[in-house]
Symmetry: C2
Subunit: 98 residues, 2 copies
């Protein structure tokens, strides 16, 4: 399992609309191959900054199965209009948890 | 509950020693006021980059109770020698999870 971490700066004033769009996108992820879980975090220090922590079975499930699907286009159609800049996306392995 | 997100660049070659230091630090967190959970993530794209996702009951539990304690000095003594640069630390609230 891997975690996709996406840091997203939202246009100031669009935070509530962005959060509503995330709620609408829930069914998209639930039907994706290899999708496991989704968390939306909002920065306390910079309230227009959000982070998505999305877990996938494999890196390919995110980068190929999702990114090259119509579901990705639908997802970006919902949330993209609120982005102030392109998201910074990275993937991680969990080394330890306690 | 809040999440502390710390992005840490480790001196290349020190990754295994850093991970061992994290394992040694486990008892420190377990005795901290308001500490809830700890995750160590390692970047797939940049293998010398790690992220700590640490949850605390309140922001003050991290910034005051922990940061101003001898436990923080002990923690930094264990992991600090492996840092390539000062960590970037931010706090978040979880907006949604599914």
């Amino acid at each position: 399992m891997i975690t996709e971490i996406a840091q997203i700066e939202i246009k100031p004033g669009s935070e509530k609309d962005f959060e509503a769009a995330i709620a609408m996108a829930q069914p998209i992820f639930k039907r994706c191959k290899g999708w496991k879980s989704f968390e939306l975090h909002r920065s306390i220090e910079k309230p227009s900054r959000y982070r998505l922590h999305i877990t996938w079975e494999t890196l390919e499930n995110h980068m190929v199965d999702f990114r090259e699907s119509a579901d990705f286009t639908e997802w970006r159609g919902l949330v993209g209009p609120h982005f102030a800049s392109p998201p910074e996306v990275e993937h991680t392995n969990t080394v330890t948890r306690f």
